[in-house]
Symmetry: C2
Subunit: 148 residues, 2 copies
DNA sequence: AGTGTTAGTTGGAAAACCGAACGGAGGTGG
DNA sequence: CCACCTCCGTTCGGTTTTCCAACTAACACT
């Protein structure tokens, strides 16, 4: 039994260890937009260059992005999402959705066109039944759950 | 036209301004679990007390949580999610899902039971067509989009 | 030679963070 | 009554991060 003083075991916390700071997620956002170069990411996010460097290294070390050499002589790399990184799109979509609803209710800064023809309106559902995941989620169980 | 040096307008960035640090989201996680008291949140997240205080104040100032007095004489409050806060569950679910898949592929620390009877497996879909949101999302448009 | 682009690196100041201690208002046990 | 415990913070001192601007390196273009 874990001491009560230890933080809860939790995939949310573990994921936040990797991508839980502003600049990591905004860098990933840029990669989703197709931006590949360091300077562009700096410009589009507003991150300072040293912080961005360290975030990109960390993301790379954790298999979320990958560097690809596009120039040999000044050795230059461009950044790409790995499959695991692409899955983080979901996080961005949900954050965007919340911000659109609560901070920009009238005019979302960006709309994505979905293959169905409509503007993407991301909702989180249960893969089994298709119902809203949030509402139907009850009674957690597992190592991360504690009495009080 | 915004200068190219300005960061992109973006609801993701705006949302991260409010909840984009580790302790904010973990505090919200605790509220989702039904934890209401300061000391419990400290214990379950591992946050230091002063940081947690400042995060809770910020969340309250932004309408994500609400304090309710439960004792008058030592003036004491417990914390609750507002409706806007409840919507952030979606963010937590998606972060959990990613962490479960990539960091704990064999044994997720926590499973939530869904009303359909199965373990919740959150996926992000387009509200219009029900298709996976991430895959079908193409061609962004709006103020936050720029040429390069 | 001079200017521009790209991807960092460096240094110093500012801010955030942390653990531990403290406070104050009360409750509990003897 | 006194000692001790709980709860919710606040304060303190020190460490770690972050921020920002300037600088470098290695080339390309003109």
């Amino acid at each position: 039994m874990p001491k009560d003083a230890d933080p809860r075991e939790c995939s949310v916390a573990d994921t936040l260890d990797l991508v839980g700071e502003r600049w990591s997620l905004l860098a990933i956002r840029e990669l989703v937009y197709g931006v590949r170069r360091f300077d562009q990411i700096v410009r589009n996010t507003g991150a300072s260059r040293d912080i961005l460097t360290s975030r990109l290294r960390k993301l790379e070390a954790n298999g979320i992005i990958r560097r690809e050499r596009y120039s040999d002589h000044p050795v230059r790399y461009e950044y790409h999402l790995t499959p695991a990184g692409v899955e983080l799109c979901d996080v961005l979509l949900v954050l965007m959705r919340w911000g659109d609803r609560h901070l920009h209710p009238d005019d979302p800064p960006v709309r994505w066109q979905h293959s169905c023809g409509e503007t993407v309106t991301p909702v989180v559902v249960c893969a089994h039944c298709g119902g809203e995941a949030r509402r139907g989620a009850h009674s957690p169980s597992g190592r991360g759950v504690r009495a009080s």
